[in-house]
């Protein structure tokens, strides 16, 4: 309970209001529905609640007590201690959206620096202040393209190697747009691992946006120059979904002609936290800045000529534009964006390159080792970053059950999302995995098959 009043305080206040009892303030509430009895557990103290929560938390298997090879859009990276120290500062933690710039320069400048680093990383001109997560950023990119062509282009061409959940969210977001179709991922040819060029025939004058992932959902690295050219030749926008850690090593999607870059920012210093809160990256070229969803911080001056920051181009937004806004987004991921800003500034160019290379080398070592285990093969078929596909001799679920005996969280079972990829495991390797962990994984995989 965090109400600071004594009974005497309440008496003084009621008297000032001219009411006898607290209940008198609620006479507008229909009487027969007023003060319902809520069937909830009785109040507990901080000590009691923490004991309960601790017990619940202990019943979970934390990735810190396991060896984690799960990826699929969320990755277990090391988070420098300084990140949490900054985001726990009450001045950042308990501030609202910076509507009043004179008392919010801390938040505003931090967002401005976030926008700068995301622009640098993606090769775009402009990043917004953050979006909810990678999937919703991808969906906003599609909405943005739909409006860019005033609803006259009614198709989004998406790669089947775009994260399955991103594709689901895109479909949810666009269900209110009459005649809008999301195509390209239905796998008509029957090959879920087909090359990206298989999208080319689908790009037409009805295409509003073409979206691919880099590295793709399976971890593969492709050159998307041809896809970008085809999108532009058809007059469509080209969007690339990225993993920001990979961009520490790989050339930015601007090199492929991307108009919009989206991505999941979780790898940039954000704990796994069972799926959220994460960080949606949404960046674009400057000609589309007025179509962009979400907050933007701009540099300006104050009345004495001092440099200052302020939310800008608010005429795109719901609180000004209402039904004509580019998006309905209001609260976004401010504190998470701050965490990623601290992370990126701690690492710098060299640190980000180093962590990306560590992931790359360890993943390739793991892939080499796994490929030597009888019955297993690696079937990524293209250069990959830190995630690869392992073809297994038996169902992935059975193997993963066995691995749990060793507190190993095996890779994701791709058969859940891709018919045709039964017995295929998506394995992710980050800098937190050691050579010994990889040995242990390989031994356990071998045993699992012979079990």
């Amino acid at each position: 309970m965090f109400v600071p009043h004594s009974d005497l305080d309440r008496e003084v206040m009621l008297k000032a209001i001219g009411a006898k009892r607290l209940e008198d303030l609620f006479t507008d509430v229909p009487k027969h529905l007023r003060f319902p009895k809520l069937d909830l557990p009785p109040a507990q103290t901080e000590m009691e609640v923490l004991a309960t929560l601790n017990e619940m938390a202990m019943s979970n298997l934390s990735v810190r007590d396991a060896i984690c090879f799960l990826g699929g859009g969320a990755y277990h990276h090391y988070i420098p201690a300084a990140v949490d120290a900054i985001i726990q500062r009450g001045e950042f933690l308990t501030a609202y959206t910076p509507y009043q710039p004179e008392v919010s320069q801390g938040t505003l400048q931090a967002i401005f620096e976030y926008q700068s680093m995301i622009a640098a990383l993606t090769g775009m001109d402009v990043s917004n202040a953050s979006h909810y997560d990678g999937a919703t950023a991808a969906a906003e990119a599609v909405v943005m393209a739909y409006h860019n062509f005033r609803g006259k282009r009614c198709t989004a061409v998406v790669s089947q190697a775009l994260h399955p959940q991103y594709r689901q969210v895109i479909r949810t977001y666009t269900q209110g747009y009459p005649g809008f179709n999301v195509i390209g991922d239905e796998n008509t040819a029957g090959d879920p691992l087909a090359e990206p060029e298989s999208l080319l025939p689908l790009i037409t004058s009805d295409t509003a946006i073409v979206m691919v992932q880099y590295p793709d959902y399976f971890g593969r690295i492709y050159d998307y120059t041809k896809i970008g050219e085809a999108a532009h030749a058809a007059g469509a926008l080209f969007c690339v979904a990225v993993n920001p850690i990979a961009l520490g090593l790989l050339k930015p999607p601007s090199d492929f002609g991307a108009d919009i870059v989206v991505g999941e920012g979780q790898p940039l210093g954000i704990p796994l936290s069972f799926g959220g809160p994460y960080l949606g990256i949404l960046a674009t070229r400057k000609e589309y800045v007025r179509k962009l969803a979400g907050r933007l911080v701009g540099e300006t001056i104050d009345s004495e000529g001092k440099r200052a920051y302020v939310l800008t181009l608010t005429a795109r937004e719901q609180h000004i534009r209402r039904e004509k806004a580019t998006s309905n987004i209001c609260t976004n991921q401010g504190l998470v964006a701050l965490a990623s800003t601290v992370y990126m500034s701690l690492l710098g160019r060299q640190g980000l390159r180093q962590v990306a290379e560590l992931c790359y080398h360890k993943a390739h070592h793991a892939a080499d080792r796994i490929a030597q285990i009888p019955g297993f093969s690696v079937c990524s078929g293209a250069p990959f970053f830190h995630e690869f596909i392992v073809c297994c001799p038996k169902p992935v679920e059975e193997i993963n059950d066995y691995l749990l005996n060793y507190n190993i969280l095996g890779g994701y079972d791709l058969g859940q999302d891709y018919p045709g990829l039964e017995n295929h495991m998506l394995v992710a390797v980050t800098e937190l995995i050691s050579a010994e962990d990889i040995d242990a994984f390989c031994e356990a995989l071998e045993e699992a098959v012979n079990d």
Partner: protein, 489 residues
Amino acid sequence: MTEPTLYELSSQGRPGFRFPQPDVPLTPLPEGFLRKDLNFPEVAEVDVIRHFTRLSRLNYSIDQGIYPLGSCTMKYNPRINEAAARLPGFAHLHPLQPVETVQGALELMYELQSWLAEIAGFAAVSLQPAAGAHGELTGILIMRAYHQSRGDSARTRVLIPDSAHGTNPATSAMSGFQVVNVPTDAAGNIDLAVLRTLCDATTAGIMITNPNTLGLFDQNLLDAIALVHQAGGLVYGDGANLNALLGVARPGDLGIDVMHFNLHKTFSTPHGGGGPGSGPVGVAKHLVDFLPGPIVEIVEEGDEDMPPLFGLVQPKKSIGRVKTFFGHFGMFVRAYTYISMHGPEGLRAVAENAVLNANYLLARLRSAYKVPYDRTCMHEFVLEGRWEDAPEVIALDISKRLMDYGVHPPTNYFPLIVHDALMIEPTETESLQSLDAFADVLLKVADEAHQSPQLLKDAPHNTPIRRVDEVKAARDLVLCCWVPEAESN
């Protein structure tokens, strides 16, 4: 007081964070895909800590004092929430782990789903939406799916009171609906006479914020809901102002069909300077099958020896997924902690004291500020920030002058139906002393507006920066630390 940017603090070659050397054989890097350069600042850890610490001190926050932003419910954020969310068994779970290894997390989600449903009177809750506006989108898509499932495709319009948050019309438009404005009557309620003329077979539903953004419990609410229901429409409840209703009235009992919660308002999860929020959606019985999934259910009943098995289930006619994974789990832990510490009586006390605080402030300010809709308010109220006998002063000037006295201004220029609105929500966590200090400042500023208006026009004087040039920001767009044209990768 200007803090250099990270880029200005950067010095080429300065060592940053170090990672261990590889303990595996190296693999050749993928030639042709390698990045040539990355324009990131190069700073040391001490630079980073000092930079962000200095930046933090340019902010105002609840931890420093009252933050009376109307409809934002800036209450104290208990620190135990932060400790709970950082327990390793919550903070370090991968969302794709086998369900057997995350039963504690699923149990917490299951209980939070059922507690929220109980608090607001709904049949089921999905925790997936990321924030309030995202919850609205989810709710409106649920309404759409409901009508479609009945073959009722003529319902293309959503009714929205003119006092609504901007997210309401933006959400409806984003979901493919046409927005129809509903006026407010002289008492600050939905204008029933007009509403009656607007309800017909094209009405998909209405979006109602109650208490509304004037801080009033709509006296026409039950009639308005009945009108929409009679026309075959559904009623969306914007849960932004739920703080006033905890243990006071359940939106589901009032007839609302679907509503989002703002865990970052009502249930004390921190705003973080603009998120992360969390916007679970609750629905009445007839909409349960349309919820976005997955949601947590008991998939195997337990017994004396075995606890139940929690699993993730997709509702039958789900609108689909609105987000990756399950929502903002870290916020669920915080809200769960908060509800646990309050219990049923404690939650009612939250609402009662929030309403008490608002009415007390209103009583203290009524003599100096015009109250356009003056009756007993709920958790917030709206004043006019202007006076006929001080014509040069506007609400913005009052807001800026408040900063000089070390308090955060109220929400200004909203709701749109009040001229120069000052929308004040103190929340239940402000003490009598804090409320009195805030009221004293507002009274003093009202006095200054009449005696020395220039003080207000030039305000703020004591903040890290003075009034900013917003026009320049939008005209000479500078959105990152360098000019994009000069940049090459």
